[in-house]
């Protein structure tokens, strides 16, 4: 289970950043005035260090 979680913590942000944005269209809903594609990418850029921190913690155990 630990291994699966580690792979997920790496794969999910990669998919969220490299593939998903191609399918986010339109100009609503906005967050802090940002269009959807921009806040989605920004969100995952901030989340990716958090995911790596999780991987790092599990590696140490």
């Amino acid at each position: 289970l630990n291994g699966v979680l580690r792979i997920a913590l790496i794969a999910v942000p990669l998919v969220a950043l490299l593939i998903v944005p191609a399918f986010i269209g339109g100009t609503q809903p906005r967050l802090l005035g940002l269009p959807p594609i921009l806040w989605w990418i920004l969100l995952w850029v901030v989340l990716s260090p958090v995911c790596l921190l999780g991987v790092e913690r599990m590696r140490e155990e």
Partner: protein, 487 residues
């Protein structure tokens, strides 16, 4: 002759930064490992500013805002890569560092020579990567010309300004080596953060009240520019996905990025650095804002003029000292990555060509001095080339990125797949570079895929196919052990 105020500020900042770094480094000595990879002693902060400083260049400073100004949402790949590339880096850079540390590697080409057991292959990769890095230098020089042209207010010959600035930075890296670059990057980063905050927040606030209000205007004016186009269209969905993947994989493919990795003091530092670097890429967001603001305030610019659109807005509506500080930040962002590229290229001409092939400069101070000679040589060649062929840099840039990316199978497969050997890797590299060059000169539609990505896939396919095909003839007992420990 009196300098216009912005140019005066750029001059003071560049000279001040160099002076600060020289004082911080003090006596460097002539040990090649100190000069080329900082004695493998950099902690998280020095490594963070060095890597961040190398990876965010005049393209970030001008090109991103220019793209936003004139085109659509596909440029958001730059920000996405700023998150994803470091996840990829987290997976392989610690292993690369360990491989290099155990063998005391100094250069990018050292990795290929050591991993594939061939000094000749090391020399070939050294020459090829030095060639693409020199082309990259041409692109930075053109970026500098745009910046210094604006800072000179049309009163100074920008070509001369570029020659002087580049001459200074060449002398600086000649003296201070990689450690000097890292210290100078601290100043550069502080200035960049300030500059980016000004152009990304002060500009929209001045004209529209807030960045959100500015974005509302931009969205109303060009709603289609916030969605990525159809599947196989030029710059469509497939283009976004393939470009983002290519850049995430090849983000650290440059010779200077590999040298920066070697400079870390431990594997732990490399890992922690990869976790912190995404924060550096948040600086890209204000540059999007600057581009949108410029497209609303000063519409109608084309080509390279759109790259400097927001600087022109600053020039017309804000105090000149502010323009000076921002141009200074951009100038450092162009000069420092150029200098680390010069150093990394020169060090592999010394190590992998002169030492490994001709037996010149075997050790110690001689290696450092030969590297210094090559720094001056490569800088002079790049400058002369640039003065004579400034035109059509867009194609050049495409080839540089696509060509650099072709070394990644050699690094990634080399680190994670014991069975891969010289012949498959060299054949893949050749196929990849040929495809990258061919597709740059004769673009094909490729269903909207990025040409560099297609070349990288071809490269990888050749490596995998030949590895399996040749293994049938190579008894397992003869497989060399590369000493790659499990992570």
């Amino acid at each position: 002759m009196t300098l216009p105020l912005p140019m005066l500020i750029v001059t003071i900042v560049v000279i001040g930064t160099i002076a600060f770094a020289l004082i911080a480094v003090r006596r460097l000595g002539n040990d090649p490992a100190q000069f080329i990879v900082g004695g493998r002693s950099f902690g998280v902060i020095l490594l963070w500013v060095l890597m961040g400083g190398e990876l965010y260049t005049t393209f970030t400073f001008l090109g991103i805002a220019g793209w936003v100004y004139g085109r659509g949402a596909e440029i958001y790949y730059v920000l996405a890569v700023g998150g994803a590339a470091y996840i990829v880096a987290y997976l392989y850079l610690p292993r690369l560092w360990r491989f290099a540390k155990e063998r005391e590697l100094l250069t990018f080409a050292d990795f290929f020579a050591a991993r594939y057991g061939s000094k000749a292959f090391g020399a070939v990769t050294a020459l090829m990567s030095t060639f693409t890095e020199s082309l990259a230098l041409l692109v930075y020089l053109t970026g500098l010309q745009i910046l210094l042209g604006i800072a000179g207010m049309g009163e100074i010959d920008a070509t001369h300004a570029v020659l002087i600035a580049f001459g200074l930075i060449t002398l600086f890296v000649f003296t201070a080596g990689l450690r000097g670059m890292a210290w100078a990057s601290i100043v550069k980063d502080a200035l960049m953060i300030g500059a980016v905050a000004v152009v990304g927040f002060v500009l929209p606030i001045a004209f529209f009240g807030s960045p959100a209000a500015m974005l509302a205007h931009a969205i109303a004016a060009r709603p289609h520019a916030f969605t990525i186009g159809a599947w196989t269209a030029g710059n469509g969905k497939l283009w976004y996905i393939s470009t983002a993947m290519l850049n995430a994989i090849a983000f650290f493919a440059g010779v200077n990025a590999v040298a920066a990795t070697y400079a870390a003091k431990s594997e732990e530092t490399v890992r922690r650095n990869a976790m912190l670097l995404p924060l550096y890429s948040l600086m890209i967001v204000p540059l999007f804002f600057a581009g949108y603001t410029a497209s609303l305030v000063l519409p109608g610019l084309h080509g390279t003029q759109s790259d400097s659109a927001y600087l022109r807005v600053l020039q017309a509506h804000f105090p000149l000292w502010l323009l000076g500080l921002i141009c200074a930040a951009g100038t450092l962002a162009g000069l420092l990555p150029s200098a680390t590229r010069l150093l990394a290229s020169a060090s592999q001409l010394m190590k992998n060509v002169m030492d490994d092939i001709f037996g010149v400069a075997k050790e110690g101070a001689a290696q450092t001095w030969v590297t210094r000679v090559f720094i001056v040589l490569v800088a002079s060649i790049a400058l002369s080339l640039w003065v004579f062929l400034k035109a059509s840099l867009v194609d050049l840039l495409l080839f540089v990125y696509n060509g650099q990316a072709q070394s990644m199978p050699g690094i990634l497969l080399g680190l994670f797949w014991k069975r891969v050997t010289l012949v498959p890797i060299a054949s893949g590299l050749l196929a990849g570079e040929a495809a990258a060059l061919g597709l740059t000169m004769h673009p094909l539609p490729l269903a909207g895929l990025n040409a560099g990505f297609v070349a990288l896939m071809l490269n990888t396919a050749v490596v995998v196919f030949l590895t399996f095909a040749l293994r049938a003839r190579l008894p397992k007992a003869q497989m060399p052990d590369w000493g790659l420990r499990k992570a």
